[in-house]
């Protein structure tokens, strides 16, 4: 099992603080799960635990940002975005503050805790906010790079971290560029645009398809907002079809963002892999990826359907 993206959180904050970046972290009683405890141990004076109070977490971070800090917040994706939405909207984004939301436990790979804790609407909620940038790193190395990029770029960020990862995509030297999509495999018949854990699934699907004579181009759309429209358009102009793949509701997420743009600029036949309009459910992460139709096999099937 690969290192989870959440494990990048505390470790990257420690690195940034040691390098002299004025980072602070605000947590809501989940420091062990989110790994902000690693940062708390190294820099206790820069760590603020608000207890079980996510709305206060976001606004205390906003205040810290007003005072000049680069403020990261923890908690789980479902609480940091859903419970504290008004705080994120009206204070963080409306004021354009240096608050970086990096909640963990996004998506269905939360596993056994079930649907109440499996946040599959967060990309949708965050990307509609003016000024908010949304990053969905594919693995541990990408998460470290994305957290670093967010810290170094002024303004609000949402960095989507997960509890579980299945495979690594990048090497340790990966550098993240906000607003850039990464073409990980070139192909001519179909574009597979993925983010988060689905990048590894899309790469596997591309292998399967290659064996069948279908050439798939795989793009990591880690920067859901801003979206790298040029890379996407260049790809679909070549392949003529696209499958979007995300561990998120099919409504409002990365697939929607890509579809919105392509429908205006370069409309092509499209399939969206994601959780249908339903809540999650208890189960082991790998079982749930299969159950909700997010696995490489489902991606390959969608690509076959488009290319047949």
């Amino acid at each position: 099992m690969a290192k989870a993206t959440r494990e990048a959180f505390g470790a990257t904050l420690v690195d940034l603080a040691r390098e002299g970046v004025d980072v602070v972290a605000v947590e809501a009683d989940l420091s062990k799960s989110t790994t902000t405890a690693t940062f708390a141990d190294a820099f206790p004076e820069r760590f603020f635990n608000v207890g079980i109070a996510e709305q206060n977490m976001i606004d205390v971070a906003a205040g810290l940002a007003v005072s000049g800090k680069v403020a990261f917040t923890g908690s789980f994706a479902v609480f940091a975005t859903g419970r504290a939405y008004d705080q994120v909207r009206n204070t963080v984004c409306y004021s354009g503050l240096d608050v970086k939301l990096a909640p963990t436990h996004s998506g269905i790979t939360v596993g056994p805790d079930g649907g109440s804790h499996q946040m599959i609407e967060d990309i949708a909620l965050m990307r509609v906010l003016p000024g908010m940038r949304v990053l969905v790193p594919a693995d541990y190395a990408a998460a470290r790079a994305a957290l670093r990029a967010a810290a170094m770029t002024p303004g609000p960020f949402y960095i989507r971290l997960g509890r579980t990862s299945f495979a690594d995509v990048y090497g340790d030297d990966f550098e993240f560029e906000v607003g850039r999509a990464y073409v990980l495999r070139e192909g001519t018949d179909v574009t597979l645009a993925a983010c988060g854990i689905e990048v590894a699934e899309a790469l596997k699907a591309a292998e399967t398809l290659a064996a069948e004579g279908i050439s798939a181009e795989v793009i990591d759309v880690a920067s859901v907002k801003p979206l790298d429209v040029d890379t996407l358009v260049t790809s679909v102009a070549k392949t003529g079809r696209i499958v979007t793949c995300e561990e998120h509701s099919v409504l409002g997420g990365m697939g929607s963002a890509v579809s919105e743009v392509l429908s205006e600029v370069c409309p092509v036949p499209t399939r969206r892999i994601g959780v249908a309009d339903v809540f999650g459910t208890s189960g082991e992460p790998a079982e749930l990826v299969e159950h909700f139709g997010l696995s490489a096999e489902h991606i390959a099937a969608a690509a076959r359907e488009l290319t047949s």
Binding site: A53, Q55, N56, D59, A62, G63, L64, N90, Y94
Partner: protein, 283 residues
């Protein structure tokens, strides 16, 4: 930077001018929140013109300044009136309140208005923000920059206020001062009838705060209370300022109906006269 000298006559004069501006700008805009702006006028005047708040209108970003967060953001006119009176921007802007293209938005917008530290308007958030600022400013023990947050009494119904109260006490934020504009009224009527707040000062005390109660229309009492709260050591302090909603305009006083509507031309004329009379009487 504003010199820290309390001059009651100066505060009263500023408060009267601010009340005049509040009524004028809301009348001109055709909408807005006069009741809670007028109830807070003496509080804000004492902060800005009574030597409580250290600030520099010629340098809104001055690092050594205190911070003021208007948590009850719908009272934006009282803040705009104070900022114009202090010279953060020209008085000519006041007549643009709530109009397209104006830097004076319906609720405070820190991206548009000099002197506004952070955008507010969604109630219940300002104390958390102020606590975060206080925690961020307290980098050295001898740093005495202070953060003031003005809340409405009805706003205390928001649960997040008490999350912030817990946080501030837990972290011993002695550079944080909350002020409650306790005018007893909210949109739907008396707070005691809509959702009773009980004893406000003792609620804060129970959360570990030091509480001071003052007449929110007596600048001398406000000054004493605010300075006592600012110099209180060991943790946060609150000043519960007992006020009258709509204070200074007879037909608005104590009437929840004036929470959020603009006066007519005749009403504006009457209000102007009453405020002018109080101004001359007090000068």
């Amino acid at each position: 930077m504003t010199t820290a000298v309390f001059d009651e006559a100066r505060v009263k004069q500023a408060a009267a001018r601010m009340r005049h501006d509040i009524v004028e700008m809301i009348a001109e805009a055709g909408s807005g929140h006069p009741g809670g702006s007028l109830s807070a006028a003496d509080i804000v005047a004492t902060l800005y013109f009574g030597g409580v708040l250290r600030h520099d209108p010629s340098d809104p970003a001055w690092a050594g300044r205190d911070r003021f967060v208007l948590s009850k953001g719908h009272a934006a006119p009282v803040l705009y009136a104070a900022l114009a009176e202090a010279g953060y921007f020209g008085r000519d802007h006041l007549s643009t309140l709530r109009k397209l293209g104006s830097m004076l938005q319906g609720h405070p917008d820190s991206k548009k208005t000099p002197g506004v530290e952070v955008s507010t308007g969604s109630l219940g958030q300002g104390l958390s923000i102020a606590a975060g600022i206080a925690a961020g400013l307290r980098t050295t023990p001898d740093d005495d920059r202070c953060v003031f947050a003005l809340l409405g009494d009805g706003e205390l119904q928001e649960g997040q206020v008490w999350e912030a109260a817990m946080f501030a006490a837990h972290h011993g934020l002695e550079n944080l001062v909350a002020i409650v504009d306790d005018n007893g009224l909210q949109i739907d009527g008396a707070c005691s009838e809509v959702m009773c707040l009980g004893e406000i000062a003792s609620k804060f005390t129970a959360f570990g705060w030091r509480a001071f109660e003052v007449d929110g229309h007596d600048p001398a009492q406000l000054y004493e209370g605010l300075m006592a709260a600012r110099t209180h050591e060991g943790g946060p302090a609150v000043v519960v300022a007992h006020t009258v909603k709509g204070k200074g305009v007879s037909f608005m006083e104590g009437d929840a109906g004036w929470h959020g509507k603009a006066p007519s031309a005749e009403q504006t004329e009457q209000a102007r006269g009453e405020i002018a009379a109080s101004w001359e009487g007090g000068a």
